[in-house]
Amino acid sequence: MRTTPAPMLTSAGLRRLKVLVWLLALLPLARLVWLGTQDGFGANPLEFVTRSTGTWALVLLCVTLAITPLRHWSGAHWLVRLRRLLGLFAFFYACLHMLLWFVVDQGLDPSAMLADVIKRPFITAGFTAFVLMTVLAVTSPHAVVRRLGGRRWQALHRSVYAVAVLAILHYWWHKAGKNDFSEVAIYAAVVAVLLGARIVRAWRRRAQAVKPPGRAGGSSGSDGAGGSGAGGANDGDRSDSIAV
C-alpha cells in the first residue's frame, strides 16, 4: 500500500515525543490530584475517581491498540517506539482503578474481593483483564522480549486483544444495570475498528500469499513478504515481528 519510504525519527526526536507522551498521559492524574485538593470530586468521590481512572485506562488501551494500524496506514514505523510506553500508562491507570476498588471499596479484604469477583460478572471481566494486563506489563521490558524470543513474546502479547474485549465487556455490563449504553457503545466501536483493522490485514496478507509468485511481486509493493531492501523497511519488518 505504501509507496513512499517510511519517515525516519532521530533519537532526539523520539526523546521529545516520549516526553510529550509522558506529559499528556499524566494529565488525567494531575487533574485528579488537583480536584482532590480542591474538593472537586463531587458527592461520591470514590465513584468519580474510580470511573475516571477506569475511563483513562480504556482510552490509553485504545491509543496503544491504534499504534499498529496507524503505522501500517501511514508508514510511520517509529510509532511503534511509543507503544510500550502507552501500554504501560494504560496499565498504570488500570492499577489505580483496581487499587481504589480493592483498598477503598473492598477495604483490603481478600475474601470480600474474591466474593465480589465471583458474584458480579462485570467485576469478573474487569479483574481478568487486569490480571492479563499485569502479565503483559511484567513481560514488557526488552530483556524479557529477548529471553522469550520474538515469536513467543508476540503470541503472549496478542492477549492484549482479549484485554480490550474484556474491558469493553466490563464497562458494558456495568452500564447494563441502567440500560444506558450510549457511552460504552462508542468505546466498543473504537475497539471493534482497531481489532477489525487487524483482521482485514491478516485476510489481505493471506490472499496475497496464495496468489501465484509471478503475480505477487507485481501487486503494488505490499510490505512484509519479499523485503523491499531499504533500511527503513527492515526496521519495519523487525518491529512487525513483535506487532500486536
Partner: protein, 334 residues
C-alpha cells in the same frame, strides 16, 4: 514530528536576506509556544474544575414547616449541594449530574395530581391545595439508594395518609400506584428507551397509609428543586430510593399489585417490595454496606477514603415498619 537530520536545512541558493534573523524566529517560536499553552490551558480549565454544577444551583422559595422530632434522625445531614446535584431521575438523563443540569425545563406550575381509582371521593388536587391540605412538617430521614449509597435529608411534607383518607379508599383497594410525569418536551431523558415511560411505582395500601410515608413538597426548608422530584413526590424511607416516585401526576388506588417500572425492567433485580435489607443482596452487588454521601471533607481526598457503614434492616426503621411484613419471607418478597 520526525526530523530529517541528513537533509541540509538551507543551501547556497538562498539569499542571506531571505533568512529569518535568529532573534526573530526565536521570538516567533516563543509566541507560538505561548499560544499553544494558552489554548491548552483554556481547553483544560473546565476539565480541572468540577465545582460549577453545585455553585449554579439556585435555591427555591422558602417553605414554612414545623419540625417533627418523632421523625427526625440526629445523624449529620447530607449537604444541600450533594442532595441537589447527585440524583437518579432518569427522565432527565442517567448520569447523577444530569437531573441538576437538565431539570430546569420542568414546569412545576400549574401542576395537578389526580387521586383516583378505588376511592369514594376521587379528586384532582392542584399544588396549592396540596400545600394547604394540612400543616407542613420537617422530617429528617435516611435515604438508601439501591446502588449502595445513602444520604440524610430534611424533607418537608406530611403523611401521605392525610391525603388518602380524604379520598376515602374503598374496601376493595389493596395497592396504591404512583405515576410520574413523562413529557418529552420537558424531560429529555424520556426520549431514550432506558425504561418504559411513564415511571410507575407502587405500595401496598397499608405501606402507603403508614405515617412514615411522606407526601413531600420540599427539602431543606425550601420547595423541592426540580431535580429532586418537584413539585410533589413521595418518600418511603425504609425502602430503596427508587420506590419513592418523583414529580407525581397520578395516584391511583387499585386491587392488584401495580407493575412498577424497575420491576418490569429487571424483575430479578428489583422486587415490588424493595425494602432496605442488608441480608438480601442485589444479584450484582452486596447490600450489606453503604457509602454515606458527603462524609469526610466534601469531595476531596478525605471523602475518597471515607469508610463505608453497615446498612440497617428497613434502613433503620425496623421498629416502626417490621410489623407490616410479619410472617412474610423477605428473601422471597425482596
Amino acid at each position: 514530528m520526525w526530523i530529517k537530520t541528513d537533509d541540509k536545512p538551507w543551501g547556497d541558493e538562498i539569499l542571506a536576506s531571505e533568512i529569518t534573523p535568529r532573534a526573530l524566529f526565536e521570538q516567533r517560536r516563543r509566541l507560538l509556544a505561548m499560544a499553544a499553552a494558552g489554548a491548552a490551558g483554556a481547553t483544560l480549565t473546565p476539565w480541572f474544575a468540577r465545582q460549577a454544577l453545585a455553585a449554579q444551583q439556585p435555591h427555591g422559595a422558602k417553605l414554612a414547616a414545623r419540625a417533627n422530632p418523632a421523625y427526625t434522625t440526629l445523624e449529620k445531614r447530607t449537604p444541600y449541594e450533594d442532595v441537589t446535584t447527585y440524583n437518579n431521575f432518569y427522565e432527565f438523563g442517567t448520569d447523577k449530574g444530569d437531573p441538576a443540569r437538565h431539570a430546569g425545563t420542568l414546569q412545576t406550575r400549574p401542576w395537578t395530581v389526580s387521586v383516583e381509582g378505588m376511592v369514594r371521593q376521587p379528586r384532582t388536587y392542584d399544588l396549592d391545595a396540596l400545600l394547604k391540605l394540612v400543616p407542613l412538617e420537617e422530617r429528617v430521614y435516611r435515604m438508601r439508594c439501591v446502588e449502595g449509597w445513602s444520604m440524610v435529608i430534611p424533607w418537608v411534607g406530611y403523611s401521605l395518609a392525610e391525603l388518602l383518607r380524604r379520598v376515602e379508599p374503598l374496601g376493595s383497594a389493596k395497592y396504591v400506584e404512583f405515576t410520574t410525569l413523562a413529557d418529552r418536551k420537558q424531560m429529555p431523558g424520556v426520549s431514550s428507551p432506558v425504561l418504559d415511560w411513564p415511571y410507575v411505582e407502587g405500595l401496598r395500601l397499608d405501606e402507603a397509609m403508614h405515617p412514615l410515608t411522606l407526601l413531600t413538597l420540599g427539602l431543606y426548608g425550601e420547595v423541592l428543586p426540580n431535580q429532586n422530584g418537584a413539585p410533589v413526590r413521595i418518600v418511603v424511607p425504609w425502602k430503596y430510593g427508587f420506590k419513592s416516585a418523583k414529580s407525581i401526576v397520578r395516584i391511583r388506588l387499585v386491587d392488584k399489585q401495580p407493575l412498577t417500572a424497575w420491576n418490569r425492567a429487571a424483575p430479578r433485580e428489583y422486587g415490588f417490595y424493595s425494602n432496605v435489607n442488608p441480608a438480601v443482596d442485589h444479584p450484582r452487588w452486596s447490600q450489606a454496606t453503604e457509602r454515606r454521601i458527603g462524609e469526610g471533607s466534601r469531595g476531596g481526598f478525605a471523602g475518597l477514603f471515607a469508610p463505608k457503614q453497615k446498612t440497617l434492616p428497613f434502613n433503620g426503621y425496623e421498629q416502626q415498619v417490621a410489623s407490616l411484613y410479619a410472617g412474610m419471607d423477605l428473601k422471597k418478597f425482596y
